[in-house]
């Protein structure tokens, strides 16, 4: 169990590869120089910061600090769900609902994975809890965004059909059932594809990391399988919650379709 630590010089050497990006942008006049510079700067600062934060929290090894960073991660994921959507539903209810969903799914799935299945000592060991929570949240929010985007888009396109059903006296969940069906399928497909192709096209990041850190590849594969199960379960829950939540947000208690609640493109 050993790995080769990287020096600052090693990183600077790798950074010279960015000259290729810059050269391509310059040669083809893509005008991406500024974007490349900002993206690189953001990446380095963000990763350096999270490295320092994690080092600090691992050193504390306390449930309170772990929970606090976990909460920050959930809120960041909730904001990401809002900003990633092309046309999100207006208002704090949408943000609240999505963040609450991420909170409960993150707690439940990470709790199951770390607390019950892995069972580290102590049970709140941040070295296990935080990375797994991060992977669960990241994949769940991807699924939720897909569902929410599909819901708003399909509901706008199928407005006539939905309102025809409402006008005939259908419950809002019945009137939106076709939309929900399309959206939930869309939300589930990425994780199914990921499970089907993982290990063939590319090794998953976590497994690669464990192998680089000197873990036995079979043990690393076992961890990866566990993570995939956790992510698949979390995504399914997130997809259902986002779909049902979107129906509630896009309709009102008088069973009217409220497309006026969708933020228009600016």
């Amino acid at each position: 169990m050993s790995y080769v630590p990287l020096t600052t010089f090693d990183l600077l050497l790798a950074a010279t590869l960015l000259v290729i990006n810059a050269a391509i942008s310059w040669f083809f006049r893509l005008k991406l120089e500024k974007s490349i510079a900002i993206a690189v700067l953001r990446m380095v600062v963000q990763l350096a910061l999270i490295g320092l934060v994690l080092k600090f929290i691992f050193a504390q090894n306390s449930p309170a600090w772990t929970a606090m960073l976990g909460l920050v991660m959930v809120i960041a994921a909730g904001i990401e769900v809002m900003t990633r959507q092309a046309r999100p539903v207006r208002g704090w209810q949408a943000f609240g609902l999505q963040t609450a969903t991420l909170f409960f799914i993150g707690m439940a799935v990470t709790g199951l994975g770390v607390g019950i299945i892995i069972g580290p000592d102590p049970w709140y060991a941040p070295r296990y809890v935080l990375p797994i929570l991060g992977m669960v949240l990241g994949n769940t929010l991807t699924g939720m965004c897909l569902v929410l985007d599909t819901m708003t888009e399909t509901a706008s396109r199928e407005r006539g059909a939905i309102e025809a059903r409402l006008a005939l006296g259908s419950h809002r969940f019945k009137a939106m059932s076709n939309v929900l069906h399309v959206a939930m399928r869309t939300g589930m497909i990425p994780i199914l594809n990921a499970m089907a192709t993982t290990g063939i096209v590319a090794l998953p990041g976590m497994m690669t990391g464990q192998i680089l850190a000197g873990v036995d590849p079979v043990d690393a594969a076992k961890y990866q399988v566990l993570i995939m199960f956790l992510i698949a379960g979390a995504t399914a829950l997130g997809v259902v919650c986002a779909g049902v939540g979107a129906i509630v947000l896009l309709t009102d208690e008088r069973h009217r379709l409220r497309l006026d609640r969708i933020r228009t493109k600016s």
């Binding site: 199928e158 059909a161 025809a164 005939l168 006296g169 069973h255 009217r256 379709l257």
Partner: protein, 207 residues
């Protein structure tokens, strides 16, 4: 009896009117004056301030689905959520095969039409099928938005006959139509929505 009190539609001054059983009220006004918005608001498909009573019961006193079983909006361009009309009819709460046959016959629609994909059914046939769909559970009030816009004179006559029959059997009808002659033939009273919003509304009774 449908009673509308101080209903606010867009910038229009509040609307108050009544439509009795067996009565047809024509909604008139230029395009964009709010005819569709008014009908949608009465069906409670759009939020609107004001009171709407059916036989003394306000719309908010009952669930929205119950209200729309009684007060039925028929869109100018009907949309479908199934591949065939038959699948949409199977969706109804209490499918009534005899009533379905009667309505199809009255509108000159063949039974086979139910099984044909709606994407290959003609616009006029789709509009008539939508009317059958709206009448299948026998709502008390019909809100018809340009019910014959896509129809030839023959089909228009059949639809008008069916509307008259509905009126004779004690249903109330609100009719938004650009067809002057049709309004003359069917309506007992008219509600004119002004061209300029906020210019006030007049309701006049024709003969």
């Amino acid at each position: 009896m449908l009673r509308v009190e101080h209903l606010r539609i867009g910038d229009l001054s509040p609307l108050t009117f009544k439509v009795a059983e067996g009565e047809c009220l024509a909604i008139e006004g230029p395009s964009g004056s709010g005819k569709t918005r008014l009908l949608r608001a009465i069906a409670d498909l759009d939020p609107a301030q004001g009171l709407i009573f059916l036989d003394g019961a306000e719309r908010n006193e009952m669930p929205a689905s119950a209200w729309r079983h009684l007060v039925r909006y028929c869109a100018a361009e009907p949309s479908w959520w199934t591949e065939t009309a038959q699948a949409a009819f199977a969706d109804a709460e209490k499918p009534d095969a005899r009533r379905l046959q009667g309505l199809l016959g009255a509108l000159g629609l063949a039974n086979e039409l139910l099984k044909r994909p709606l994407s290959v059914v003609s616009t006029g046939e789709r509009q008539r099928l939508a009317l059958v769909r709206a009448l299948i559970d026998n709502p008390n009030v019909l809100l018809l938005d340009e019910p014959t816009a896509a129809l030839d004179p023959q089909a228009t006559a059949l639809v008008e006959e069916l509307i008259k029959y509905q009126l004779l059997s004690g249903h109330s009808v609100l009719l938004a139509s650009h067809n002057r002659a049709q309004v003359e033939r069917l309506s007992h009273a008219r509600l004119l929505l002004p061209k300029r919003p906020g210019a006030g509304t007049t309701a006049e009774h024709a003969a």
